[in-house]
Every structure is written in structure tokens, then in C-alpha cells.
Amino acid sequence: MTKSYSTYTEFFDQKKDIQTLIFAGKGGLGKTTLSAATSIRFSKERMTKTLVFSTDPQASLSDVFEKDVFGKGEIKLEDNLYVTEIDADREIEQYIQSVKQQIFDLYGLDKIPEEIEEYIESAKAEPAMHESATYDAMVSLVSRGEYKLFIFDMPPFGHGVRFVSTADVLDSWIHKITSMRQKAEEYDEVAAKFMGKTKQDIAEDAIMGELTEIRDRLNFFSSMLKDEDRTGFFMVLVPEQMAILDTERAITMFEHFGINISGIIVNQVYPPDLLEREDLSAFLKNKIIMQQKHLETIFERFGDKVLAVIPMYDREPKGIELLTKVAEDLFFWKRPD
């Protein structure tokens, strides 16, 4: 990997083909704020048609932009700036309804068999369901390609990695199925010549079609995450022991799946020049000293992966005006010598 950027701005100067930005990290560290700030910068200064995407059930994008966009589709906020906040629970509910409807239509039933109903209900309760729906929606959006830049405010990334590995597993299964099918066909030929295509074959064709499409979607997602020219993958952290350890673990995990993170953004750092003030309370003083210590650790461990350090603000950075300020801090951060 030839890496020749040391700040957020340099990153974008190097990556002219960038198409997707992903912000990952634990909850409450400011992923949404940084996604929003970046989107403002791109839509305003660089005239890039940008979509910010979130599936946070707590409607955090609505909060930072101070406008209710939750579950309302793609909403235009300003020129070139679009926001969509998906109500994943509702999407899943609709998806399940469509699956049930298909069963009704295929077999002319008036009630889903108990066993099937049970399976659907347990699949719905599966925690990965929410994430899968999110990634599937991401794939749909990006492959539709109506925007120049997609910014994803990711939910805490747990099963996501499994999604990436599933693509490979599924791929090898599809190969296996295809060759098995061919073999079965060879065998079958004698008998099948008299019967023609059976119902079974037609169902299998449909399933194969679905499997191939699923594989393609998973592949799309996984190659999107791995494409370093078109995708920026940022981790957000705060100068705290736990966040540092978590980030280290996450980076190792991503690397294991062939995903290199593009950079780290340190958020919520108390301005250290406050220390020079005489009237500084002991409480704040200790907090700042502790943060500075952790910041040193962060630079030691992650070194040039750190692309920006964002201060803690005296207010919550909400609304276009304050987010523009955050964007400036983000894009004009200077690396200390």
C-alpha cells in the first residue's frame, strides 16, 4: 500500500475516484456529526452531489441536521446535499410481509404453515437482521449510483464482518451447487429425457437465480469495503483507554478480512491550551491531562493513520452552521510536528 496522505484533506486530494465514505466506531463517539460535517463540506465547497445515509434507530441524523428525516426517504436539505435515514424496523417488517405474500401467491394458501411462520419469526428476531437490511440498502443505493458521494454513518459494526466473509463462503457454495447440478443432469439425462423439466427443476432454477443475486450483492458490498481507491473507511475514536483498545481490536478484525482502514479521526478532545488558564478547575484540568496522555498513546499506536483531531465544542454541534465549523476543523487540521 502506498500511503501518501497524513491529513483528511490530503486523503481526498489523493483519492480522486472516491465514491463511498464509511464511518465506523462505537456509539456516541460522533460518527454522525463527522458524517454530516463531511457531507456539508463536499456538497457546499466541492459541489459534489452527496447522500448521507444512516439506519440509526435513534434518528441521530435528524438530530444533527435539526430536521425530521427519519423513515422519509431521500430528502434534499441544501443544494447537492441529500439525507436518508432508514427506519430499519419498518423496512424489515415490509420485507417479511413480501416474503409471506410470495408464499401465499405460490401455493394459494390462506395461512402460512406453522413451521414456516416460526422460522420467519425467529429470523426476524435475529440481531443480524437489522444489519443485513442496512447493508442490503447500502448496496441498492450505491449500485443505483444517483449520487457522486455516499457517506455511511454505520451502526456499530459487529455482524458486518460476517457479511463480508459470507460473500466468499457463498461463492464457493454456488460453485459447488453448480457443478453438482451439472453432474446430476448428466446422470439424469436418460430418465429426464422422458420427463422434461420438472417442477423441481423450475424451483431450483429460481433458487439458483436468487442465490446468484445474493452472492453478487454480498460481493458488491465486500469489494466496496476493500476498494481503497473508491472507498474511505474511517474509524472514529475519543481519547479514552477503552476506545483505544476497541479500535485496535476492530482494526485487527478488519485486516483479517482484507479491509484496511483509511484513517482514524480522534474526536471530542478538550482544547489543551485551556491548561494555561489560571482559573481552570481541577476537574477539567485532570480531564485534559488524561486526554493528552491518551492522545499520545493514540499517535504512538496508530501513528500516521490519524487524519484529524477534532476538539470538544462548548455546545453540541448541530445544524448546518455549527457543522460547517466542524468541517473546517476536520479538513484543516494540522499534524503536530
Partner: protein, 98 residues
């Protein structure tokens, strides 16, 4: 009797076809029946494998994310019962004979 003697070439063809068909059946019975039974058997295994990959989590073996399993589910509704029964069945020695 005279009818036979007055066979048209067309009838001859028909008769030949009939003979060929019986011959085909004979050969099929003698040689191929086993093969196609084998084929049906491997088709069954294949089907079960198919189900396992797509709906493995019904059996506690997740391969596909359940979100996508649901897309497959409608196509296999009729097979689920027999498949589950077969997968969970205890094996015994008589299995070797079929």
C-alpha cells in the same frame, strides 16, 4: 395376414420404432435403471444440500445471513418437512441398502 404383406414403408418405420422403443426400455431396465435410481438418489442428496446451504439456520447451521434465507424460503416451503425429518433422522444399517 394379407395386411402384413401389404406393409407400407411407413408401417415398417412404425414397427421399427416400436422395436427400438422396447429395446430402449430393455436396455434401460437392464443397465440404466440402477443409474437413474442413483441419479434420483443423488438428486435427493443434492436437494438436501441445497436446503442446508440456504436454510441451514433452521437446523442451527447458519451459512446464509437469515435476511437472505428469507428470499429463498418461499421456493422450498413444500420440501421443508421431509428435509428436516431426513436430516434429523438417526442413521441405521438399512440405509446402506437403498
Amino acid at each position: 395376414m394379407s395386411e402384413i404383406e401389404e406393409k407400407t414403408p411407413n408401417d415398417e418405420e412404425q414397427e421399427e420404432k416400436g422395436i427400438r422403443a422396447s429395446l430402449k426400455r430393455l436396455i434401460y431396465g437392464a443397465a440404466m435403471h440402477g443409474m437413474s435410481r442413483q441419479a434420483l438418489k443423488s438428486r435427493m442428496y443434492f436437494e438436501h444440500m441445497f436446503m442446508l446451504i440456504t436454510l441451514g439456520d433452521l437446523m442451527g447451521i447458519p451459512i446464509l445471513p437469515p435476511y437472505y434465507s428469507l428470499r429463498i424460503l418461499p421456493y422450498v416451503v413444500p420440501q421443508i418437512k421431509t428435509w428436516k425429518r431426513r436430516m434429523l433422522k438417526e442413521r441405521d444399517i438399512t440405509d446402506a441398502f437403498y
